[in-house]
Symmetry: C2
Subunit: 125 residues, 2 copies
């Protein structure tokens, strides 16, 4: 890793190793971790991170899909940061296995977290 | 799926379900399948698909990392298409677990498959 040709950081991760990447909230508190990612096969972009909160917030659901745009990878933490609040998670739109094919759910969810829908943002990211 | 709000196709896939997505070569022949993906945590883009060829080509390696740009998802096939040839796989640059952090390996590999390096193409995809 000391090679001049090495990446400045470990940006690349196997989809098999995604599970367990930590997510930090405001103030560097760990709030949860990535359970898995939802990927658009056409564009090759990550669309959602399904986060696990492990009971931290005492929430009913243990898994929450969060738009990728609401997370930012921080190489110094080797984890993601998010500004998502506990209240946003409590109020998040209900989801099911069919939500990924439901544009209404996707629209409401992106609006809920205050991020631009990925289908409007393809040229900006 | 008949809903007006449904996606026109199942574009979104869980990282947990990536394994086994089929890859077709020229002429609709199945040449292999996706074993897993390599993802850039910063940009949220898939960078490589690690393909399994299952002995189809009688190659020494069973897994080959292929730049994402060398694959194209075809919704009618529910799989990927690629123009990569057997000879390209036979001649592919050697790789190891450290290759993901080796910009030289990445440069050579993208050149080998005739695709633009992702770090040059971020505004075009």
């Amino acid at each position: 890793m000391a090679s001049a040709t090495a990446h400045p950081d470990h940006r690349l991760i196997s989809s098999e190793d995604v599970e367990g990447t930590e997510v930090y909230g405001i103030g560097d508190d760990k709030v949860g971790e990535i359970d898995h990612l939802i990927i658009d096969k056409l564009s090759g972009r990550v669309i959602y991170a399904v986060m696990s909160f492990g009971g931290f917030l005492g929430l009913g659901h243990s898994h929450y899909p969060v738009p990728w745009a609401a997370l930012k990878y921080d190489t110094s933490l080797s984890g993601f940061r998010t500004g998502i609040t506990e209240q946003q998670l409590r109020d998040a739109p209900e989801f099911s296995d069919d939500s990924w094919t439901d544009r209404n759910w996707e629209t409401v969810t992106h609006r809920h977290y205050g991020v631009t829908p990925y289908w409007d943002a393809s040229m900006h990211r």
